[in-house]
Symmetry: C2
Subunit: 495 residues, 2 copies
């Protein structure tokens, strides 16, 4: 794409300045339009060092309202960033609906630079490209406009500009070793850029801009952004295609077919609990030292015993290495973003545990049944969730998903007990009673959810919790066995 790229010539007799002003005016109006429509817009500027990204961004934003955009420089990756999945630091900075986000380099730079320098092997590169393509599609399906610019510049021109910057005392600090390295290895970079542009052109398409003539480049950028917004506004709120499942799914029984008569004696419970918690504590140190993150997702009926179950896991862990995240309805700044944003931003660092008390599966349960999202939204979500969990396991995380199961009679018993016990009354609300009335609707939704997201890499585990003690012991055993497996695998790879 890049190698055979020829920039269009400036049309003869064109008044560039007038055209630029026209497009800037259009952008100003478009900014109000996206604000009104609640459209989130991501504009990614990628390309060669010294190609003039900074100065073009400066001109693009010149006339628009700075309260509704943000420019973020993504070049610097901190040590802490490296303790999260690749997409993490990018997903963290996606904009809210109605706002512009301009990025001075985005996920391309990290990947292409890593590939040229050899930090990423072929298969790592391919995995990154897959992650990026999935993320871009998922953002667009969820209503984001994604615009991608690549700023092209020749080897000679780059060298000239770097030299000029370097020789001026006021600007020499803007040139670093990485820039010179790039110029020296121009042809290798060109190969990788070319391949990357090709590989990631399938979702949001690339717009390549020759920056030799700055005004002409600016005009092209502005025009491309404006026409992108016009199109996005036409698509906005429209349904996106539901994608086929591409992951291997495990066989999953219906909830109704799961026997709930399993129990454990008090004596066995106490003994097992102590033994298993000790075991898990030891494993946590091993996980920590190997930097393996663990994500445990709890879903289940109200009063099924999630809280007590979580407590028995948490009590076994090093308190400085885990967090329990109770998930309630999204707050406004969360609702205004991709529905997975609030989970991306709550992921554990490598070596740590995060236990979610309710999860991203709310999308296909409560949000589906209460109409908090569109039908298209929740129907697409099964795949979006599978892709999200695939990112997590590819990163190296252990992902464990629990459905805490009880029958309807047991729920009624527990509701009644809560109602009648003063210290437990905070646990029961009118909403719980209302949800109970929709038991059958929820059961259908849960059955569909379990079947569609029971992937080989992040399988569901049903915890039969009519006897809470039984469910706790089972949960501990599952967590332990998953962690042991992950440690073994890590040690095998490191040999």
């Amino acid at each position: 794409m890049l190698k055979d790229f020829a920039s269009p010539e400036v049309p003869e007799g064109l008044d560039l300045s007038a055209k630029i002003e026209e497009q800037q005016d259009r952008l100003f109006k478009n900014q109000m339009a996206i604000k009104e429509a609640g459209l989130p817009v991501m504009v990614m500027f990628e390309g060669w060092g010294a190609a003039g990204k900074g100065s073009i961004i400066g001109r693009v934003i010149k006339d628009i309202d700075p309260r509704f955009f943000r420019v973020t420089n993504m070049s610097k990756i901190t040590e802490d960033d490296r303790r999260f999945p690749f997409l993490y630091r990018y997903m963290k900075v996606i904009p809210e609906g109605g706002k512009f986000a301009f990025y001075d380099s985005f996920w391309m730079e990290e990947v292409t630079d890593g590939f040229v320098r050899g930090d990423l092997k072929q298969e790592d590169y391919r995995a990154r490209v897959r992650s990026i393509n999935n993320a871009e599609r998922s953002l667009m399906d969820n209503g984001y406009l994604v615009l991608k610019f690549f700023f092209q510049i020749s080897k000679k021109e780059q060298k000239k500009r770097l030299k000029a910057l370097d020789e001026d005392a006021d600007t020499e600090w803007r040139v670093n070793d990485a820039d010179w390295f790039q110029n020296k290895h121009y042809d290798e970079y060109l190969d990788v850029y070319d391949r990357y542009l090709e590989d990631t052109n399938g979702q949001a398409p690339w717009c390549i801009i020759d920056t030799d003539d700055k005004k002409w480049a600016l005009l092209q950028v502005l025009t491309f952004i404006n026409s992108g917004i016009d199109t996005a506004l036409k698509n906005h709120g429209k349904a996106a295609p539901i994608r086929q499942n591409v992951y291997q799914l495990l066989p999953t029984p219906d909830l109704a077919d799961i026997p709930l008569d399993k129990t454990i004696s008090d004596e066995d419970y106490k003994e097992e609990l102590k033994k298993l918690q000790k075991k898990l504590r030891e494993l946590h140190y091993k996980l920590y030292r190997r930097r393996i993150p663990v994500i445990i997702a709890y879903e289940g009926w109200d009063a099924a015993g999630k809280g007590g179950n979580i407590k028995r896991i948490a009590a076994a862990l090093d308190p400085r290495g885990f967090v329990v995240e109770p998930i309630a309805s999204p707050e406004p700044h969360e609702k205004n973003r991709h529905f997975l944003w609030r989970f991306w931003t709550r992921l554990p660092r490598s070596g740590h545990f995060t236990i979610f008390d309710r999860t991203w599966y709310g999308r296909v349960m409560v949000e589906r049944l209460e109409g908090f999202c569109s039908e298209n939204d929740w129907q697409r979500a099964y795949n979006e969730i599978n892709e999200f969990e695939k990112e997590l396991t590819d990163w190296g995380a252990v992902v464990i998903k629990f459905w805490v199961q009880i029958d309807k009679d047991t729920q009624l018993e527990r509701f009644t007990e809560r109602q009648n016990t003063p210290e437990k009354q905070w646990k029961i609300t009118d909403e719980d009673w209302r949800n109970r009335e929709k038991w059958n609707l929820y059961e259908d939704a849960v059955n569909e959810m379990l079947k569609k997201t029971n992937t080989a890499f992040a399988p569901w585990h049903v915890l039969e919790s009519n006897d809470k003690h039984y469910a706790r012991i089972k949960a501990l055993k599952i967590v332990i066995s998953a962690c042991e497996k992950a440690i073994e695998e890590a040690d095998r790879k490191n040999k």
Copy 2:
């Protein structure tokens, strides 16, 4: 405090295990009580390496619900943390109302360690202590319970424990050079710890715990936390004392006495604007290279022209180095914390600009007049705000505060114009008309605010904005002169 500290003996015949269980049970009940009351609780564990902080924390949380607490290890300071004020990374992690936060070391460790190692000079140390004392008081005045433990251990015992950890292959990774350094320099640390405990005992008091006997230590910790909560619940929601102002205030005219007839010709405006924006752009690079942060706070009447004014400042800055933060009503997770939390977390990195479109002064304007906070809350806020801004300027930030002033007739004209211009209708809401009815009440509140927060280090500047062009030029000149001053000072200090 530390040198003459003698741990109480375990009372003879005391059943430690039974007492611990009793206190753990009490803590469980207290957790529900703080949840119900919306009380936020911060528990800071400080002390010697290998004193057993981790294991005590593990036992303290054993029986409480992990959904309502979080344990945070604050020991590691990243490079990015250092680009923010000292208090920033601590204020970032204060809990919401109703939740526990346990800290494995907090702001003490950074200060004492820095002092012993010589990174902090005497005057830096004293400034840190001042910051911490103010922050603790402000947290408590805003309803936080702050509990502070120092874990004491003798030089010999520390050495013994470090050796034991070091010799065991499973634990040797937990001992690092800093631990051994501390043991080697035990007496110096003891001096500094002793002084620090004394210096910071005035707000939340210290509880020193000898950890030789772990069970006895645990019992003391649990008892102290429980009695702290009992007391805090009694104080909860009560008014805190309004403190005297300690900062030098500049003379401040009443709004009514400020002439609003200042204007600028179109020609002069265009010329000046261009010249000043160019100047500011150049200064931004200089600020960036010297790592000087700039914070600009905009307040003013509806339709006074804040947006347009901000735009003229922003347009002059490097887009990768500024953010405009529009401040609306707090979201639930913001309302549940100290009212300055959402501003602490929005501060610029060193070298960057943050422009606030409305600010922390909402506390003494809209929140005061609409009753969104108690009278005591807003009356205390003047001092809390002055302290906050002092932290910022002590850090090295340039803090510029603008009041954008118009008269009542001009506001009516602009409201009417907005109402009648389709592209501007989004800018005018029913709330604007309601606020206008309260003009006089607001004017009184603003006059009080300007007088009480017009400090020498962060003075107010009134922008006469009946002529918006005049106001923009004036704002640019003020920003430029403040930045120039800061650069000169920085260069003088570096000589």
